[in-house]
């Protein structure tokens, strides 16, 4: 009896968390920008910085140089440097770029970090999944906003 109610409570909590989170298919774009937070939870710039560097997560350094990470040996040259990017884009525009930059730059090489379907031949373990979680997107946006 007790167990069931705990389980039920957990299920209710999980649904509540999901309801607060915008799923990839429901993100609303306005001219490439996304003004509403994907989670409602403020982004953590320190974690965003880690996600940016991590080869298995954002791996943003693969394509972008970023002077804030000068201790990292290798910076890519495929996209523009992200120094001062917070002065060039609003928070909503940066969120839109991360969710799906193809809405801003058609045909870009930059991957969509919060898109779950429409891919050809995805590896099974990535099928139906986004590259970053909703909160990781918020964290990276918060980090980018510190690059003044």
């Amino acid at each position: 009896m007790k167990r069931t109610s705990v389980l039920l409570a957990a299920a209710v909590l999980a649904t509540a968390a999901q309801a607060a989170e915008t799923s990839p298919g429901d993100v609303v774009f306005d001219n490439g920008a996304v003004s509403r937070s994907l989670t409602g939870v403020p982004g953590d710039p320190a974690n965003g910085r880690k996600v940016f560097m991590n080869r298995k997560k954002g791996n943003c350094l693969a394509c972008h140089a970023n002077a804030d990470m000068h201790d990292q040996l290798f910076h890519g040259e495929i996209g523009p440097t992200l120094d001062g990017v917070a002065g060039r884009y609003s928070e909503a525009e940066l969120r839109g770029l991360l969710v799906n930059s193809k809405n801003t730059y058609e045909d870009t090489i930059m991957p969509a970090f919060y898109r779950a379907d429409g891919f050809k031949r995805p590896l099974d373990k990535f099928k139906g999944k986004t590259i970053l979680t909703a909160q990781e997107v918020e964290d990276v946006v918060a980090y980018l906003m510190t690059l003044k």
Binding site: R55, A62, I109, P111, F119, K120, L123
Partner: protein, 278 residues
């Protein structure tokens, strides 16, 4: 003073390596034999001015390993292939050497592969396995296995310095078209096509690696990363997995078609096999 000199020296070194990449001091001569590392792009690759060997994009240290066969780690595997060449295997009690006097008789073969025979696209690996199965009564080798890579390297080596010249018209045309379609199709969770990296961005750094045109004139290639010879299809597979796409199978019709198309994008480059890459 000292620091000043060191700084100057470092700046000069950077300037030098930049020109060696961009200004054509990219002469590759292997044991005195001159290789063509840049050629005018064929008219069917309108987005390229020049086709450029992957060797040009590697660091000076990696480049140096290809300059003579004594330094080239691939030659351990060439020795192994020479042993395989003489080794009797299968129900007919024969080795390659039982019927072929000298592997040098395959000079030029690599430059025209893949090619269409009896309506089927045939790669060097296909030929080797068909020799083993049909003439020796032996088991086929795995398509990307060590003995296959070694034998493919030994046979390709006979064409070293000769220009790549695969046939793409006539009965090869449908295979070539299929390969081209695969080359330009975005795949995987990163949603990238071969062309996004190897056509649109060659010459640029992608984190620690300098992107080349993804040419296959040097295959099989010894990679410092895994310390072995790598076949063409193994490399294609690796690039697909990196963009989180389900790779086609080595030896599949898709990869063979892609191989023909990619080979044709290197028309005029010297066969450099077995090359060295990081």
């Amino acid at each position: 003073m000292r620091i000043g000199n060191m700084f100057l020296a470092a700046t000069a070194a950077v300037a030098l390596s930049a020109t060696s990449l961009l200004a054509g001091s990219d002469r590759l001569s292997i044991d005195g034999q001159e290789m063509t590392t840049r050629a005018k792009a064929p008219d069917y690759t309108p987005n390229l001015d020049q086709v450029i060997s992957g060797w040009v994009f590697r660091s000076e240290e990696t480049q140096a390993l290809e300059l003579d066969d004594f330094d080239n780690p691939s030659f351990v595997f060439i020795d192994q292939a020479n042993d395989l060449w003489n080794k009797v295997d299968g129900s007919e009690g024969k080795s390659c050497a039982s019927c072929h006097d000298d592997v040098a008789e395959f000079k030029g073969l690599r430059t025209v592969l893949p090619r269409v025979v009896d309506g089927k696209l045939q790669t060097l690996e296909d030929i080797i396995n068909s020799e083993r199965v049909n003439r020796m009564g032996a088991e086929p080798w795995g398509y990307t296995s060590a003995p296959m890579a070694a034998m493919a390297a030994l046979i390709s080596l006979q064409s070293r310095g000769m220009p790549v010249q695969v046939k793409i018209d006539g009965d090869a045309a449908p295979f070539w078209e299929r390969g081209k379609e695969i080359y330009y199709t975005r795949v995987g969770q990163l949603d990238l096509a071969c062309a996004n990296c190897h056509e649109d961005n060659y010459g640029k750094m992608i984190r620690a690696d300098r992107l080349s045109q993804g040419q296959i004139n040097g295959f099989p290639t010894y990679r410092l990363k895994n310390a072995k010879l790598n076949t063409v299809h193994a490399r294609f597979k690796g690039c697909m997995k990196n963009v989180r796409a389900k790779p086609y199978k080595p030896g599949s019709d898709e990869f063979k078609a892609l191989e023909l198309y990619v080979a044709s994008r290197g028309a005029g480059l010297s066969v450099e096999s077995p090359s060295v890459r990081n």
